[in-house]
């Protein structure tokens, strides 16, 4: 096997990766806006904003704002305070007929 054959194998391996990525990969969480995220129940995304008001510490419930405000819920206790700017990994859900975000993870 000569150098050009190894390069051909390398090329094929990369090509398989590119094809798999293009045809089958669908990102779970992509950056979006709060308004787009809450458009439909079950939407997942990463949203940036500010903690407007902390309603409860455990489970953590807070009002999250960026252009519009929405209630966010995390079953786990989050170390956040009013005024914190953060990214939320969240899923849109409807609770008691009100749109809110279920928070999976927080990045400051």
């Amino acid at each position: 096997m000569k150098e050009k054959n190894i390069i051909q194998i390398c090329f094929c391996v990369s090509l398989v990766g590119i094809l798999l990525f293009v045809f089958f990969y669908e990102a779970d969480f992509q950056k979006t806006s709060i308004s787009k995220l809450i458009e439909k129940e079950g939407n997942k995304g990463i949203v940036y904003g500010e903690v407007d008001y902390v309603i409860s510490k455990e489970p953590t419930i807070f009002i999250f704002t960026n252009e519009i405000s929405v209630k966010a819920f995390s079953p786990k206790k989050l170390e956040i305070a009013q005024g914190d700017k953060l990214y939320l990994y969240a899923e849109s859900q409807i609770y008691k007929e009100e749109k809110e975000l279920f928070v999976y993870r927080v990045e400051k």
């Binding site: 990766g17 590119i18 969480f29």
Partner: protein, 380 residues
């Protein structure tokens, strides 16, 4: 995402080419950057995979050590002196790229295996580590060598306990400086860049991939020790086959460390530590990891061959370069680990020189990692 892929590849090349600058060190810096999720996942995987290919270049061309590739220094240099350094590097690329294909095919079985057996690992790990030490001792043929290697294991184990946070000076002292200090002045060797690799080497790649999978599960057993153990069982392994084996273990270890992180939440590879708190563990992220591994490994393989060819065109004064590397490594140890690191380097280099001079397996020095891990699993 493409930007992070490119940055990862560039950082991987830098980490691979500069002796002593390991991707672990770069990933420690990345943790503090404001990236997370898929961004950091793509960056770290591109970095780790590229580095797993490129880091054979300094080991083979200069004899400069790296914690993941030091076993390649001797076989690599053997081919270097025959004017076939490029072939030596191509053999590691061949092993690496084949192991990517094999590892991806085996991945579903590997994931099932670690999911089912997670609870047994704390019991199995000390048994595997103890067996490894026994293999090292009884793998030596004469009684004198058995006693000598036992001494090295005890001494390096003690150093591992005394210098707990000094892995870089220890690895440099055991595997890097002794080779550079003891290397004979090399005459300029005309390097041939054409080669023909036998397809029989595929079976070495399969063995290496299995070795990489085992290394990714068990702490303390590095790529090089796994290669040394395989060599113990196969006394007549040829230099070329051994380089394919090393290339396979190095790359597959990184690949398998990703599902180990996803499903066991254990970072067995220094590079993936940066991912531990930065990504969201979903099947989609795992699928993304696999596609990035495939894309980057092909690119990294080609890059490694191109860089090797370009470097061999220059005429180096290797004796001068070796001296520069010796001082550079001592300087890096001082920068990363301070004065205490220099003390660790002094003792580890002494032990490394001893293993080289008396001719016992250098891998026995890895007892400095195995013994502290063993004690942790037995008593804590």
């Amino acid at each position: 995402m493409i930007l992070f892929l490119l940055i990862g590849i560039i950082l991987g090349i830098i980490a691979g080419l500069i002796p002593g600058l390991h991707s672990n060190n770069i990933s420690k810096i990345i943790i503090f950057l404001p990236f997370f999720g898929t961004e950091i996942l793509v960056l770290i995987i591109a970095l780790g995979i590229t580095q797993s290919f490129v880091d054979f270049i300094p080991s083979i061309l200069l004899g400069a050590p790296d914690s993941e590739t030091y076993e390649s220094i001797l076989p690599g240099h053997k081919l270097f002196l025959k004017g076939r350094a490029h072939e030596a590097i191509a053999l590691t690329v061949f092993g690496g790229i084949l192991s990517v294909a094999i590892a991806i095919l085996f991945l579903p079985f590997f994931i099932e295996f670690i999911k089912i057996n997670t609870s047994y690992f704390p019991t199995i790990i000390p048994v595997v580590l103890l067996t490894t030490l026994f293999i090292l001792v009884f793998g030596e043929k004469t009684r004198n060598k058995k006693i000598l290697i036992l001494f090295v294991i005890i001494a390096s184990g003690t150093q591992g306990l005394l210098f707990k946070e000094q892995i870089f000076p220890l690895i440099t002292g055991y595997f890097g400086l002794p080779v550079l200090i003891l290397s004979k002045p090399k005459e300029k060797v005309k390097q041939e860049t054409k080669f023909d690799i036998s397809l029989k080497n595929i079976k070495e790649s399969l063995t290496g991939t299995i070795g990489g999978a085992i290394v990714s599960i068990f702490p303390g057993i590095g790529n090089n020790l796994a290669a040394a153990i395989i060599r113990t069982f196969r006394q007549k392994i040829k230099t070329k086959n051994y380089l394919v084996l090393l290339g396979s273990i190095n790359t597959s270890n990184f690949i398998f460390s990703i599902p180990v992180l996803f499903f066991l939440n254990k970072a067995r590879n220094g590079t993936v530590i940066a991912l531990k708190d930065s990504i969201f563990f979903t099947n989609n992220e795992l699928f993304l990891s696999i596609t990035i591994i495939l894309i980057v490994s092909g690119i990294a393989g080609i890059i490694t061959l191109v860089i090797s060819k370009k470097l061999l065109k220059f005429s180096f004064d290797f004796r001068k370069i070796e001296k520069i590397i010796i001082f550079f490594l001592i300087f890096l140890v001082f920068i990363f680990n301070g004065f205490f690191g220099l003390i660790a380097l002094f003792f580890s280099t002494s032990l490394g020189l001893l293993t080289n001079l008396v001719g016992v397996k250098r891998s026995s020095c890895l007892a400095s990692l195995i013994i502290p891990t063993l004690l942790f699993y037995l008593f804590f």
